[in-house]
């Protein structure tokens, strides 16, 4: 793929006084688990929001607006839950927006919040995404018994597995690459206290011998179902100057969408993903992502999506992504660490999963990632996607403020 061939549609001509730089000064997450039976939905989101405010050294009155995201309302059975959550998020008397862009929503939500700061509409914005999957059953929410339609013929993995097979056919990748990703991400999760899965006795052999659910996808190569929330505090230059800890600075952010299904759609490497990455790199002045980006948090719900996205995002040439994974480049101590937090493979509160990627990218450049910190990470990409590989959102954050 070539970033340079991307057409930028409807590009802007003038920026007036220019955008305000956007800083991430607070990050908060819940400990992600299969079921948080000790809290209400409000209690869950509140916990993440409170931690983000504490990280930023702020309190509720310091927040100008709240932007919240989650996946379909049917998952918890609450329509437009932001109405009920206004009190818990300190939003009473403030603007509150609710974003929903399928699986990419956590990322899109953060970008909508960032725009409020960039446009100088607000100084400080709290953004949050969550899912409390234990309230229902995601597969129920995804497969309502719509009349006349053919029933889904496979579970969650059945949607993805044929695309993985197509990737393997196209690239000649050996069978074992998916297991390497899962083994890496699960070990990374052991260093992340907020990760859902902490498989202390994980071995590569265990991953390789786990049951084949949707051939070519094994059980250990699939994501869990989690309850969890993630929040961030975004602010302007003045806010960043007041912050008690280093900020992560937004250098580029973009969303791209293409139709769910269409003649000519490339499910293995969707054009919307390529275009989205190209837009982010253009904004951030990145010519060679493989060399200029230090680490990536990408949305990998099934292990094989790591090599697929490495190609889609321009870190490897077409057909070569699996070689980066196989050679250890994406390990925590590799040259391009991927999913240092353990990724979606270790933690998946669906609506929050994208924001966790964005937040973990911010933690890395702030030097706040703890045991899974990549030494000297200066520029890190956060990536989210959703729908039928149709919605993409990404941001690139840096340790330094943007140049212009």
């Amino acid at each position: 793929m070539s970033a340079a061939t991307t057409t930028v549609t409807g590009a802007a001509t003038g920026t007036g006084r220019g955008k305000e730089p956007v800083a991430v000064v607070g990050v908060g997450q819940t400990k992600h688990v299969a079921a948080r039976r000790d809290v209400s939905i409000a209690g869950l989101v509140r916990e993440a929001a409170r931690r983000a405010l504490d990280d930023a050294g702020l309190d509720w009155p310091d927040v100008d607006a709240v932007v919240i995201g989650k996946a379909p309302d049917f998952f918890e059975g609450v329509m437009m839950p932001e109405l009920y959550l206004a009190d818990a998020l300190g939003a009473v008397g403030k603007p509150m927006l609710r974003v929903h862009t399928a699986g990419s929503v956590g990322g899109s939500t953060a970008l909508v919040a960032a725009n409020l700061v960039a446009a100088r509409v607000h100084g400080t914005v709290l953004t949050l995404a969550y899912e409390k999957q234990s309230e229902s059953n995601a597969m129920w929410g995804l497969s309502l018994p719509i009349p006349f339609q053919q029933p889904l013929l496979a579970g969650a993995g059945g949607f993805f597995a044929p695309h993985v097979r197509a990737y393997m056919r196209r690239t000649g990748a050996p069978d074992g690459v998916g297991s390497l990703v899962a083994y890496k991400d699960r070990r990374n999760a052991l260093k992340n206290p907020y990760a859902h899965l902490h498989e202390h006795d994980i071995t590569l052999e265990k991953v390789r011998s786990s049951p084949m659910l949707w051939d070519p996808i094994r059980y250990s190569e699939t994501c869990p179902s989690s309850d969890g929330a993630c929040a961030m505090v975004l602010t302007d230059r003045a806010g960043a100057a007041r912050a008690p800890r280093p900020a992560a600075w937004l250098h580029g952010g973009a969303m791209r969408s293409e139709p769910t299904l269409f003649a000519g759609k490339d499910f293995v490497s969707p054009q919307a993903g390529k275009d989205c990455a190209a837009d982010v790199y253009r904004q951030a002045g990145i010519a060679d992502p493989r060399r200029e980006i230090d680490a990536v948090e990408m949305y990998v719900p099934f292990s094989w999506y790591e090599p697929m996205w490495l190609e889609n995002l321009g870190f490897a040439a077409e057909g070569e992504g699996w070689k980066l994974t196989e050679s250890g480049v994406t390990e925590l101590d590799g040259d391009l660490p991927v999913n240092m937090s353990g990724g979606v493979l270790s933690t998946n509160p669906i609506g929050a999963s994208g924001m966790i990627r964005f937040a973990e990218a911010a933690l890395q450049v702030r030097g706040q990632a703890g045991e899974h910190q990549v030494d000297g990470a200066r520029r890190v990409l956060g990536h989210a996607y959703g729908g039928g590989s149709q919605f993409f959102s990404m941001w690139l954050v840096g340790a330094e403020p943007p140049a212009s």
């Binding site: 100008d64 309302d73 609450v78 008397g93 409020l116």
Partner: protein
């Protein structure tokens, strides 16, 4: 005891001038109908998208940002917006977002996107099909899931509690509510898209004190708007409706902690949008119930000199998720036609006006 409305931040800042001038340059809507069951959502939406783009001569590929508003709960399908996107023709891929809110908030998101300078034009659309479900029951799922939703208090019942509070406070009475309803529907006689055009008998109580005439029609519909920044807006439209200010605020969720006779969130949004700096000549209010127009007129300080709901408002057509965006579109349309120089448009969401958005639109001086 009603809770006071806190202001945002410690000391409210003065209303800042937006980074760029942004205007509504085109608006289109469906005819709003009780049912549209011969059409899927995308089949209902697509002609509106074509019409709004045709007004500007733009194609999907010329648009810098696209944003939509809809709700899965109305028609009972998860991810319904992903299929609606088929009507846009999102190829090559587009910069696009979606809010699970009324399209007025999608317009707000698009407005912020244009402010950043990342795009010069935006397509905003919203659609809602209420006909597949029982919307009174569906909306109960918006309520606090522990204390309220298990009682299934329907949307008319909650509005009726608010209406009675207004009557008790001496703010209105049943004849006055009937007059609000009939005035809106009389105005709708001039609106070819309205579902109820002309007089409708007040009829029996639905939930007392609200009668059939006090309630919005249930129906299906879609709407779309094109926004453009600066000179681009003048290129695309003879008389753009400039967004002088736009703001939205939410209140506490519990009905029992709010003063239902007032709308402090609408007032604060209007203040932040600059609505009180100079009088408006026109207001399009998203008041699904006649009683809610009473609340909003008071909160927004609209007196008899203001032409309220020349389109007939939500009492004449109420496609949920699009009805707020339509208020902005109708106000902009009157400015484009020269029937208004300064108009206020309002959108609401949630039980008893919990969340409110106010936009102030102006035409260039004549």
């Amino acid at each position: 005891m009603p809770a006071p409305m806190p202001t945002s931040g410690a000391a409210p800042r003065s209303v800042p001038r937006p980074l760029r001038d942004i205007a509504v340059v085109a608006f289109a809507q469906t005819d709003h109908l009780r049912t549209s069951d011969e059409l899927s959502e995308v089949e209902m939406l697509m002609p509106v998208l074509h019409r709004v783009l045709a007004q500007t001569g733009l194609r999907t590929g010329d648009i810098g940002f696209t944003c939509s508003g809809s709700s899965d709960y109305l028609a009972g399908r998860a991810f319904s917006f992903t299929m609606a996107l088929d009507g846009v023709g999102a190829w090559p891929p587009i910069s696009e977002s979606h809010v699970e809110m009324d399209g007025a908030w999608a317009l707000y998101e698009a407005w912020t996107k244009l402010l950043t300078g990342d795009a010069d034009t935006a397509l905003v659309y919203a659609y809602g099909k209420s006909s597949p479900g029982s919307v009174r029951d569906v909306l109960t799922r918006q309520l606090d899931p522990y204390y309220l939703a298990p009682l299934w208090p329907d949307s008319v019942a909650l509005a009726a509690l608010q209406a009675q509070a207004l009557i008790d406070a001496g703010d209105t009475d049943e004849p006055a509510l009937a007059a609000v309803a009939s005035r809106n529907r009389a105005s709708a006689a001039g609106n070819p898209h309205a579902q109820l055009r002309g007089p409708v008998p007040q009829g029996d109580y639905v939930v007392r004190p609200l009668r059939i005439g006090d309630c919005p029609p249930v129906g299906d519909g879609a709407a779309a708007v094109v926004l453009a920044a600066g000179e681009r807006a003048r290129d695309l439209c003879e008389r753009p409706a400039w967004i002088r200010g736009i703001d939205h605020r939410v209140e506490a969720h519990g009905l029992g902690v709010r003063d239902l006779t007032d709308s402090p969130s609408a007032r604060l949004a209007a203040e932040r949008a600059g609505a009180f700096e100079r009088p408006v000549d026109t207001a399009e209010l998203h008041a699904p119930f006649s009683s809610q127009e009473v609340v909003l007129r008071k909160a927004l300080r609209l007196d008899d000199r203001v032409h309220v709901n020349p389109s007939g408002g939500a009492l004449a057509a109420h496609p949920i998720m699009a009805a707020g965006l339509i208020r902005i579109g109708e106000a902009a349309e009157r400015i484009r036609r020269g029937d208004s120089d300064r108009a206020l448009a309002h959108a609401t969401s949630g039980p008893c006006l919990q969340q409110n958005l106010v936009a102030v639109l102006e035409g260039d001086p004549r």
